[in-house]
């Protein structure tokens, strides 16, 4: 009976609601899925490259610091080089002036726009969201992101598109202000992987999944240990209960 309750209660939450457009999302078997899921580091590094060369011109990655990139397998020297490419506004200095300097490991990713208004001004009124939480802030986020990136099509003849909008099968309302960001070979992968739209969409999803949940691997590994501990704990107390209760007639 209790099991039934748990199931009913879980069903009664709408946490499992699908994406905005009502079209079922493309369902990918991700390497980060499941209790033993891990971050595929080479894919995440390729995904970082896609983010940097394609997404970063409009989308911020607000809560990530350059030093965090070490977690997906970049070496310290590589990350230092990545950080140094960014221009950080720091200050005020002793003269009271703000100044520019190259980025350091401890800096947050520099956002492409100074503020939301500036972002909207050059994007036809649309605001490119911060991507560091994008996978967590959409239901079924990883599949949604992957579907969206691969979901651009020609608008059906019956549909009247607003100016500057693009048809996307998976976007709520099907009209999205973001131009199709990916096309075959828009980036050149160092490791020789063919940069198809599908491949890049997968890689950048893996990267942004890590960005949304950088603790995921540690959390799941700890979860396995905690589970093992709790099962032993519970069995021991069950046996202790049996033994202690033996004399109750």
């Amino acid at each position: 009976m209790k099991k039934l309750f748990i199931i009913l209660i879980l069903l009664s939450t709408n946490a499992i609601a699908g994406g905005g457009s009502g079209v079922p999302l493309r369902d990918v078997k991700w390497p980060f899925d499941g209790a033993f899921g891990t971050v595929d580091r080479t894919a995440a590094q390729r995904g970082y490259q896609v983010y940097k060369e394609v997404c970063a011109s409009c989308h911020a990655l607000e809560y990530i610091s350059y030093r965090n990139l070490k977690e997906i397998g970049f070496s310290e020297a590589e990350v230092k080089a990545i950080a140094a490419e960014a221009t950080v506004i720091d200050g005020p200095n002793d003269d009271g002036d703000m100044f520019e300097r190259p980025g350091r490991l401890s800096d947050r990713f520099v956002s492409p726009f100074a503020n939301e208004k500036a972002a909207r001004a050059v994007n036809g009124g649309a605001y490119p969201p911060n991507l560091s939480l994008i996978v967590k802030s959409r239901p079924n986020g990883a599949n949604y992101l992957y579907s969206l990136l691969t979901g651009y099509q020609d608008a059906p003849g019956s549909m009247e598109m607003n100016e500057g909008m693009y048809y996307n099968k998976y976007f709520s309302g099907n009209q999205i202000a973001m131009a199709p960001p990916l096309m075959d070979e828009i980036v050149e992968y160092m490791d020789g992987t063919h940069p198809s739209v599908d491949q890049m969409a997968r890689d950048v999803t893996i990267f942004l999944q890590w960005a949304a949940e950088p603790e995921m691997e540690q959390r799941k590994r700890m979860g396995i240990k905690v589970f093992a501990y709790l099962i032993i704990f519970t069995i021991l107390f069950y046996l202790a209960k049996k033994i202690i209760w033996r004399d109750i007639k």
Binding site: K2, F5, I9, P129, S132, P139, F227, L230, F237
Partner: protein
């Protein structure tokens, strides 16, 4: 000065503060021998409250209750504070687990008639704890200042505007302004920090009231002789620890593998007063009451029914006219009870659906049954039902079950 059985230093202290007789009471406390696993929930709830308080205090050390900073301070906890993700997920999942256990605890009470004489005051304290828990959880959900935090707070505080004449003023007073904003966040943080300690105090009274007459039990027959009861320690302490294990396993599953399953994706979008989410839905544990609120076509009516659905529990001991406490011996009651339980879960399902079409009609029917159970079924059933014969004693029932 009163005489005690203690002498020397112990006697001196005991006369001034009866700490030793309290310890003696705790050590010798007895409980009916036939309690089933539904009676594990009380101690599980005690643990759940402690988990919330301890994780909550640590979170408060890192959190910033300011509308400009709250969201990023939570992200800072998740990303940069050592094991911050563990603390925050424990707190967030812990709230769900707390409600899950409290609902089962209340259903246990409803089924076995634990609210009946001589435990009415114990029951009242339970209801007050439940209502205060809901207020605490609601304010806690506002603190991350995501989209659902902001809009949930807007919807729920707006309920008070349904009060005639003074409603609007009350809402502005609650907000500390003309919309949900920084002052609202500040006071919700202060209250969210305070209320758990008030809850703790109420739990003390709940337990004191419990210890006066002892636990109810699956037969609903009160203990008569020493043979009906066993010492709480070690029998129920060891059984409680087994229960904790089961509770923690369910807890750990969500905490480590699906920490966001019970929440809303929208709450990872920072609050934006200019953008309303497509569906504003409260946390799952509020959904049955949310469904009742929306089932009534009138705003004030909805608010009255929603609060009424909780307040009606206070008079339940007198609405249920049956002399038999336990549902085990009430064949008709059982049918209505399980229907009530199913109906309540169904209300939760409806609360998560948009208020349109068939869902509105179903919500009204479900709301009707929720109230009918208390106002029609229980008063009438007690008069007409043929109950089964009660066991002579707890001991007899226990031996019979063996």
């Amino acid at each position: 000065m009163s005489q005690t059985e203690y002498t020397g230093v112990k006697g001196w202290i005991e006369e001034r503060l009866p700490i030793f007789s309290f310890l003696k009471h705790s050590a010798e406390y007895r409980a009916p021998k036939n309690l089933n696993y539904a009676w594990n929930l009380g101690s599980i709830l005690g643990i759940a409250l402690m988990i919330q308080i301890i994780t909550g205090i640590v979170l408060a050390m890192h959190y910033t209750p300011n509308s400009e900073l709250a969201f990023s301070s939570v992200e800072n906890i998740m990303r940069n504070v050592n094991y911050g993700w563990l603390i925050r997920y424990t707190h967030a999942v812990g709230a769900s687990m707390f409600f899950f256990a409290v609902y089962l605890h209340i259903l246990r009470g409803l089924y076995y008639g634990s609210y009946k004489a001589p435990r009415e005051i114990l029951w009242w304290f339970g209801i007050i704890i439940f209502i205060l828990m809901m207020a605490t959880a609601f304010m806690g959900y506002v603190l991350p200042w995501g989209q659902m935090s902001f809009w949930g707070a807007t919807v729920i505080t707006n309920l008070f505007s349904a009060i005639p004449v003074i409603g609007e003023s009350i809402v502005q007073w609650l907000w500390g302004g003309f919309s949900v904003d920084n002052p609202t966040l500040n006071r919700f943080f202060a209250l969210h920090f305070l209320l758990p300690f008030i809850l703790l105090g109420l739990v003390v009274f709940h337990v004191i009231a419990l210890h006066v007459n002892g636990s109810n039990n699956p037969t609903g027959v009160e203990p008569k002789t020493e043979k009906d009861t066993i010492p709480f320690h070690p029998y129920y302490t060891v059984k409680d620890f087994f229960g904790f294990g089961i509770f923690f396993i369910i807890f750990a599953f969500f905490l480590f593998f699906e920490p966001n399953y019970l929440g809303h994706a929208d709450n990872y979008i920072p609050a934006d007063p200019m953008v309303t989410p497509a569906h504003i839905v409260p946390e799952w544990y509020f959904l049955p009451f949310y469904a009742i609120l929306r089932a009534i076509p009138d705003k004030l009516g909805g608010v009255v029914f929603m609060f009424g659905s909780l307040l009606i529990l206070f008079i339940l001991p007198w609405l249920d006219t049956s002399k038999v406490k336990s549902g085990t011996f009430r064949p008709l009651f059982k049918v209505f009870f399980w229907l009530f339980t199913f109906n309540f879960v169904f209300l939760g399902y409806l609360g998560g659906k948009p208020a349109e079409g068939i869902y509105v009609i179903l919500s009204r029917l479900s709301t009707f049954y929720y109230f009918a159970y208390f106002l029609l079924v229980l008063p009438i059933l007690g008069k007409i039902e043929n109950t089964k014969a009660l066991p002579e004693s707890i001991d007899a029932a226990y031996k019979g079950n063996k």
